[in-house]
């Protein structure tokens, strides 16, 4: 079935259980799908845009109220929707970092945090994670001291991942913020894998900025996200335009330069808004998600040679495993080589791991029903057994 010339209708999640590590939290709710149907046209949220002509002032649909709710839900003072978490990083880096200034991030940081620093002209200084793949406050303090010695000044900003994308490990943002604030370093908490997945309280973390991803963790279409700030930081990052045209004398009201004026002007925003009540509710039940994750993890650990590389027991559903001593031994002799695992999974209705991966790979159980988790667990065990691996 096609939905346009050369574009097949996508039925991945209708036909299979999708364990793709980055897609799980961004699957739309029914209400978001309905919003997509109604608001697919370009500037669909702009029907009732009135003076002062800015997205976060529109009251029909209730975009203004949504912005207030977002900030309050994250326990921050102000929030804006942005086209993906990366645009939040970009806005903050551009505001806080001047050319040549050092900026903290971690050895587990996402590449877009590096790019945000690069674009602002900053110098990336990584806090190394420990051998358990955790970034600690002590490591942050040591790195800041190193940076001071090397650059003659403290970093002008720190990007700290609440949960990193590589291992899905939770890092002690609160403790790292305390250290950073001793050096007057503002901290951006990257909640791309937590905002919309589990409770996030910006003030409790002490963060100056909280960034979330709509399409990764808030059941929203891409690209969408949120940038929330304390009142103190909001004055700068959400400053309004001061420019005037030299010929026309034109001014541009209260548009915000870091947001490039209005941000999400249609289906992305309304999808995010439609999912929001469900997202607010689902973060309260993250324990259920962890219980489903445990079912799958236990099955994987029962396959001889399989190692969970993420911190165990799991506190997040994104998990990295090493199956070099299990599924990869099968791949060595299998006619499909490394593709045997993804092919075998797909045959049984489980998709989402990188085709060809049999050594180190990631998966995410977020959003599954318990029956689906049990099914995925059994599928892994069955594939292992069918290929002669030892099950304990």
């Amino acid at each position: 079935m096609r939905c346009g010339a050369g574009i097949d209708a996508r039925m991945v999640d209708e036909l299979a259980i999708n364990i793709d590590p980055i897609q799980a939290g961004g699957r739309l709710t029914a209400d978001a799908m309905k919003a997509v149907i109604a608001y697919g046209d370009g500037y669909s949220v702009c029907d009732n845009c009135r003076t002062p002509n800015r997205l976060d002032y529109i009251s029909k649909p209730p975009i203004a109220e949504f912005h207030k709710d977002l900030a309050s839900w994250l326990n921050m003072d102000a929030a804006r929707v942005v086209p993906g978490a990366r645009r939040g990083f970009q806005a903050v880096a551009h505001t806080c970092v001047k050319k040549g200034e050092p900026v903290l991030l971690t050895s587990l940081s996402h590449y877009t945090e590096f790019l945000a620093i690069e674009e602002a002209g900053g110098v990336a200084c990584e806090i190394p994670a420990n051998d358990r793949h955790i970034v600690t406050a002590d490591a942050a303090a040591a790195t800041i001291e190193d940076v001071k010695k090397k650059h003659g000044r403290a970093p002008s900003l720190a990007f700290i991942d609440h949960v990193d994308y590589q291992y899905g490990n939770i890092h002690d943002v609160q403790a790292i913020v305390k250290v950073a604030h001793q050096y007057d370093i503002p901290v951006l908490c990257n909640g791309a894998y937590t905002v919309g997945i589990m409770p996030v309280d910006g003030k409790n973390l002490g963060a100056d900025f909280v960034v979330g991803s709509g399409h990764k963790s808030m059941a929203a279409p891409a690209p969408s996200g949120v940038l929330a700030a304390t009142a103190e930081q909001a004055k700068d990052v959400f400053r309004t335009t001061a420019i005037t045209g030299d010929v026309t004398g034109r001014k541009f009201g209260i548009k915000e330069p870091e947001m490039m004026g209005c941000t999400l002007m249609g289906v992305t925003l309304v999808g995010m808004m439609a999912s929001f009540p469900h997202v607010k509710e689902r973060v309260k039940h993250f324990d259920r998600e962890l219980a489903n994750n445990k079912i799958v993890i236990q099955a994987l650990r029962s396959i001889g040679g399989t190692i969970v590389l993420s911190k165990y027991p799991r506190k997040h559903t994104l998990t990295r495993v090493d199956t070099t001593a299990s599924f990869d031994t099968v791949a060595q002799a299998h006619k499909k080589r490394g593709f045997f695992l993804s092919a075998a999974l797909a045959e049984k209705g489980v998709v989402g791991i990188i085709p060809g991966a049999t050594r180190v790979w990631k998966f995410n159980t977020y959003g599954m029903t318990t029956l689906q988790a049990q099914y995925v667990a059994q599928v892994f065990v069955d594939i292992a057994a069918e290929n002669g691996l030892k099950i304990s």
């Binding site: 999640d13 209708e14 036909l15 299979a16 259980i17 699957r27 029914a30 799908m33 309905k34 149907i37 109604a38 049984k348 209705g349 489980v350 029903t369 689906q372 099914y375």
Partner: protein, 86 residues
């Protein structure tokens, strides 16, 4: 306050033009409602497919939900036929 007949007429024309601009006539508004209602019902069925993937084996509660949704869909398509083909 007394409004002269021609003024009232002008107001009525303006009103209907405005309504027409946004919604068309009443018949097509109902047809549009039915199109959206049917698509929303189909969306609920889509979500049911997702929740039960990959076997799509429905339990009693899900079967009852599917039956209710399909009945609604039938009614919505029926109303749409009435509106658009009359």
């Amino acid at each position: 306050m007394f409004i002269p007949l021609h003024e009232a007429g002008k107001k009525a024309i303006t009103y209907f033009r405005t309504v027409h601009y946004y919604y068309g006539d009443c018949v097509s508004k109902r047809a549009a409602d039915m199109v959206f209602s049917a698509m929303y019902t189909l969306t609920d069925l889509r979500v049911l497919l997702r929740e039960t993937a990959p076997s799509h084996a429905l339990n009693d509660e899900q079967r009852a939900q599917a039956e209710r949704l399909l009945e609604n869909l039938g009614r919505q398509v029926g109303s749409l036929k009435q509106e658009m083909l009359k």
